[in-house]
Symmetry: C2
Subunit: 481 residues, 2 copies
Amino acid sequence: MQNWLIKQATTKPDKLALIYQEQHFNFKELFNKVRQAASGLVALKIEKNDRIAVLPSNTVNSYFVILALQQIGALPVLLNYRLSWSEISQQVKLAKVKLLLIDDDLQLNWSATKLLKITTLKLNQLFKVAAPKVTLKKEFALNEVASIMYTSGTTGQPRGVVQTFGNHFYSAIGSAFNLGLDPAELWLCALPLFHISGLSIMMRSLIYGMGVLLLPHFSTVMVNKALQTRPVTLMSVVPQMLQQLLREFPATGYQARFRGFLLGGGPIDLATLNQCRQLKLPVVQSYGMTETCSQVVALSFADAPQHIGSVGQPLFPMQLRLSQPDAEIQLKGPNIVTTYLDDPGSFQRQMTADGWFKTGDIGYFDQAGYLYVKGRKNEMIISGGENIFPQEIEKVYQNYGSITEFAVIGVPDPQWGQVPCAFFTANKRLNSKLLKAYGYQQLAHYKVPHYFYQLDQMPKTASQKIIRPALFKAFEKLKSC
Amino acid sequence: MQNWLIKQATTKPDKLALIYQEQHFNFKELFNKVRQAASGLVALKIEKNDRIAVLPSNTVNSYFVILALQQIGALPVLLNYRLSWSEISQQVKLAKVKLLLIDDDLQLNWSATKLLKITTLKLNQLFKVAAPKVTLKKEFALNEVASIMYTSGTTGQPRGVVQTFGNHFYSAIGSAFNLGLDPAELWLCALPLFHISGLSIMMRSLIYGMGVLLLPHFSTVMVNKALQTRPVTLMSVVPQMLQQLLREFPATGYQARFRGFLLGGGPIDLATLNQCRQLKLPVVQSYGMTETCSQVVALSFADAPQHIGSVGQPLFPMQLRLSQPDAEIQLKGPNIVTTYLDDPGSFQRQMTADGWFKTGDIGYFDQAGYLYVKGRKNEMIISGGENIFPQEIEKVYQNYGSITEFAVIGVPDPQWGQVPCAFFTANKRLNSKLLKAYGYQQLAHYKVPHYFYQLDQMPKTASQKIIRPALFKAFEKLKSC
């Protein structure tokens, strides 16, 4: 298949590709910037199949360099700058990278990078390299590697997910067939480029010839302003972002071209979805993960209002089933990656004998065949023989006044085996007894948390997911006090 | 890849799939009808890889049976009912079909079908076959055959173009990425189902999960009414259709959901395009053929007004080049078929050594890289050493008052080698001298036709293309008179 960037730069040179603050790039300009970065990389002796780590921030330079690595057949290993330095260096070592590129906007302890014993470069240095213009690769083979990113690693060893051009291609197709495609689509990206939610927007841009409005980071003010003043058509959000946007939703609403939010990254409470419905803000829930190269199951704008709480139907051309007897969500199709970096064995253990990917999530179908996600198989709490998923408890408490975030884990209990234990943040000090009483009104008795711990701040990953292992540690510490 | 029909019937059962007159079918109902036809076929001992000829009309039964053949892995050979019976029987024999299915709406000389010595069945008979429900194929492999259709054969031996699911898939993707995709897309099909322009709408419906409004045939009244009263978003047209629609364009215009016309099937005059612009009717010109499985080069809604007369840019993921020195349009990509039925050798002669498909059309690029089609290489007229394409003359005369159709061929001339000769239809009797004088005002002298013949009716193919060999015959006959 012809190199997607060349395709767009040739056939749609004047079409908008990227907006960042006051800078606009059409596909021809994007091509030139990417070629400049690619030329710098080649001058630095970077070659096809070299693994190059990138610590990107949401800036144009990071945007260009990720694409540039793909253009010369090097393998971008995208690192999460919100991880600790020891986690970052672990991934750099695991990935056996030749070079580490760091966005200029990131404040790092540069002496620490020396300990890695690999060449480290700030992006502005790369763009200053004097280099003759290189010829970019003519074709993208669908089985070639486009990106590598480590799973957030909330549990266990980080694993490098190897995403091919084919994975990105089919992901983009499924998204377009589901959400439709506005000829003037402008997708707002406030999610990090090192995460599949952000990177997939970049890839869709190349595949569709679509515009991206890149924001340096998520800020309620910045996003609400962009949705009022820029011709944004779609925006990817995680639940917390949507909740924050609604809290400061402008009285005049968003501009007319806005088609809606693509919501991923975990379960959301019904109150938020109902509020969106009242405000006539279309929200499409979706389900996916790094290994599925973005959303693979989603609602559509047409059926979203009738199936609130569901994550929808498998996107084209994905297939979906629930395993027996434990109802694990399993997926099959060309969106699914085929290996972890240097560790095909671990990946094989994620696959069934007949070739389906085991997501590790438990779900169920409603009568119309729409998927609902109950929670992670390994987060399931067994209390007195009953199965409990943290999410069913969390959803109930997210609607409790003044609670901002709420997470449940299972903790050991001599009588019941395990019992639910809740951690939360709130706008004011809350009383455990009242919280327990609320639970008894809303939930089966065995689902009501035995413990309630109020935190100043939830431990969260870069993609705003709560780090459950940190909560287990916190529980042990609190109990021993 | 999962069987597209099963995919849509499973994930979008209630979504509109097909409207025909007052009948509506959602994807679940379409699936049931197609399975019924497939069950009948299996009961008749039709098996995987059997070649089955279909003489379809634009009816639901033809629609169902074409899909049913795909569903059991049989190969539909789509025949053009407007051909002569001897042409049809030639194709039936060439294709070595096991069964011939004929739409009930077609008036045929049934005694002639007996001479074919193959089983012949009317579609309503097929739907009456008592048959247990069969299981349809689970997956569509992209390299499997989806449809076979003979090229219109205006010259030489008819050749069976073998289109795979992959050809249709990439064609649908290129179309969606170019035109965009309305989540409630409803594509009006007034083009014949045996032609790639009609069949490709059916295939897009399965791939996108899109609705089709099928008309029994093209009629200005019927189409103008449908565009006023039904939520049609797109319509495929050939130039003559568009011209006719404009002549009776309703004062109140079309309903608001209508996004525009996809125009294929040959060159169009600028006056028509300008009229569309004045009426604010978006028209996207496109270029393609049976071997490219529908459009492969097209304008977009955004650039169409700036590039009137061009057929645009290669669609995703196609590549386009012009050969040296004769400027033949050559194409590369997964939309292009890979063989003619039982005749890979002939197809190989259509390919260059480095794997590009030779279209036989001559073209040029403007400065912005947009493609213009000059005409067929084998229709080029060489007059006194100058190259002339019939189309450049035809376009000029199509704007001459009261001319309805105008075609030019090259005829032998003792002095110049060849000279242009014109055939035309008009609303009234026209004077050759005046026509010649008009030509001298608009064209280089050597391009002005030496002969003008007014016809009552142009000889045309089922897809409304003028049959040039018939004009050569007519010239010989007229000259000998």
